[in-house]
């Protein structure tokens, strides 16, 4: 594991809570408000850490284990992304499957923890979450397949690292389509508009927020951080596809990573302020559209 990769990983882990704040700030500024401070998520994490936990009598150990498993799976997934543009801390041929499987593990743990409470709200959120996951997983794999075909590499460090720059000269159209498709996936997986409104207050309209409705105190802090980390992971993925950073020096790649993450969050904020939330039944269609874009990219590569 190179020193640069380790530093990039630490930067990602520390800077992850910054990203939802930037997205919210962008959205507020564009809609004419001042909005919460950019560091708001850090303040929330600190505040929640000091609160007392309240657990329902219906819950079992699965409720307490859910946030921890989610955090662990996300951190493990982060180990496979080449954040410095060259090589990830952990890499082997076929690790893209491990990346997707770890995200699925986090989702499974969170869904079970939500259903442990025996409340209808969590059941509703869990049901919607797995419905979207049914189309989101194939869409993610379509994007990864396109990257495999474009670069000829089987590891995320290869697909998002140096060979990607060469692939851009050969197949820019396919890679742009893959990048757009990944951005749509980012919006859906991280419960952003147009898939889900993170600022809604009505439980009946929430998806991700309502699965964790009964978590409080330090558990909620872990979940808040995990959501920010998931956003950071997807943002790093999108940024790596659009801007390969293989040729930069050590310090420059860290700065570039940070700048890319901030840019993607700002883009998320722009999209959130420009669009309204879709009807629930249209979100699978949105994912099918993203999948169709990635499919078209694959057809162009195979032709």
């Amino acid at each position: 594991m190179s020193r640069n990769a380790l530093i990039s990983l630490i930067v990602l882990l520390v800077a992850a809570p910054l990203l939802p704040g930037i997205a919210l700030k962008t959205k507020s500024v564009l809609t004419g408000r001042r909005g919460a401070p950019v560091l708001q998520v850090y303040y929330d994490l600190w505040k929640l850490g000091w609160k007392r936990s309240v657990y329902s009598a219906t819950t079992t150990w699965i409720f307490r284990a859910g946030p921890a498993v989610m955090l662990v799976s996300l951190v493990a997934a982060a180990l496979f992304l080449p954040l410095d543009g060259r090589a990830a801390p952990a890499a082997f041929a076929g690790d893209l499957v491990a990346f997707a499987a770890l995200l699925a593990l986090g989702r499974f743990a969170l869904v079970l923890a939500g259903l442990d409470t025996g409340s209808s709200f969590e059941g509703m959120g869990a049901s919607r979450e797995v419905t979207f996951a049914t189309f989101a997983e194939p869409a993610l794999f379509l994007c990864l397949i396109a990257l495999v075909l474009a670069t000829g590499e089987l590891s995320l460090s290869g697909m998002l690292g140096a060979p990607l720059a060469a692939a851009w000269t050969r197949a820019p159209a396919s890679l742009s389509l893959v990048g757009i498709s990944l951005f749509v996936l980012l919006l859906v997986e991280n419960s952003r508009v147009p898939a889900d409104d993170p600022a809604t207050h009505l439980e009946l309209t929430m998806i991700h927020e309502v699965i964790v409705l009964d978590h409080g105190g330090p558990d909620l802090a872990v979940i808040l951080y995990s959501s920010a980390l998931k956003l950071a992971l997807f943002a790093a993925l999108v940024a790596s596809v659009f801007v390969p950073r293989a040729r930069l020096g050590a310090a420059a790649s860290v700065v570039a990573l940070l700048a890319a993450l901030i840019l993607v969050s700002a883009a998320v904020g722009v999209v959130e302020s420009a669009m309204a939330r879709l009807r629930l039944t249209r979100v699978p269609q949105l994912l099918a559209g993203a999948g169709a874009l990635a499919c078209f990219g694959i057809v162009l590569l195979l032709a």
Partner: protein
């Protein structure tokens, strides 16, 4: 992969997906309008040499396909007060899947067609894909207006295929554009008028009730 005609052709395929995947009729019309605009631009870009004839053709294509017809269709939507395709015969997810399969099929067929070497290798596959997409929209939708949009997409595909003849812009293209205009105005006007009068709605499935 970054010449202007190739980008235009890629956007035409994206517009096909847009027509297949959306239920809002205004979005369908806007997508067909963008397609028409791209077709006119393509006619200009692919012409071997620029002449008055080419310029007039391109301009006419843009005016008809990108301005007139969409405006007319939008008027028809307002008249009939219909905004969405609510229950198509084939669902939107399935239509998108069919559209992707159409693109793959078009590329596979185009690779096997005995065509002489062409400058634009994307032209034939994209035109085939657009024709098939037009067919899908024609057969998979209920509302008469959406079916007209499908017919326009089909015509756009045929127009694209005509562009492969780079020797001269054939008479075919001009006839095609005029045919578009004629067909759309004539048929749609009659159909909209009559359906609206008979049923107070534009659901073409209800044409089945016109039996003895």
């Amino acid at each position: 992969m970054h010449t202007a005609p190739q980008v235009a052709l890629l956007f035409i395929v994206l517009m096909n997906f847009a027509v297949l995947g959306t239920s809002r009729l205004s979005t369908c019309i806007r997508a067909v309008a963008v397609q028409g605009l791209l077709l006119g631009v393509l006619a200009l870009l692919l012409a071997p040499r620029f002449s008055l004839h080419t310029g007039v053709l391109a301009l006419g294509t843009i005016v008809v396909k990108a301005v007139t017809l969409p405006w007319f269709l939008a008027w028809a939507i307002r008249e009939a007060a219909v905004r969405r395709e609510v229950e198509p015969l084939v669902g939107f997810n399935a239509s998108l899947l069919l559209g992707v399969l159409a693109v793959a099929l078009a590329f596979a067929i185009a690779a096997r067609l005995p065509l002489p070497g062409m400058q634009q290798e994307l032209l034939v596959p994209v035109s085939l894909a657009t024709v098939i997409t037009g067919f899908i929209v024609l057969t998979a939708r209920r509302k008469a207006l959406t079916q007209v949009v499908g017919y326009l997409v089909l015509e756009n595909g045929i127009y694209l295929f005509g562009l492969t003849q780079t020797e001269s812009m054939p008479f075919l293209l001009e006839l095609g554009v005029l045919l578009d205009l004629f067909v759309v105005v004539f048929i749609m006007g009659i159909v909209v008028f009559h359906i609206n009068r008979e049923f107070d709605s534009l659901d073409s499935a209800r044409l089945e009730e016109l039996t003895d």
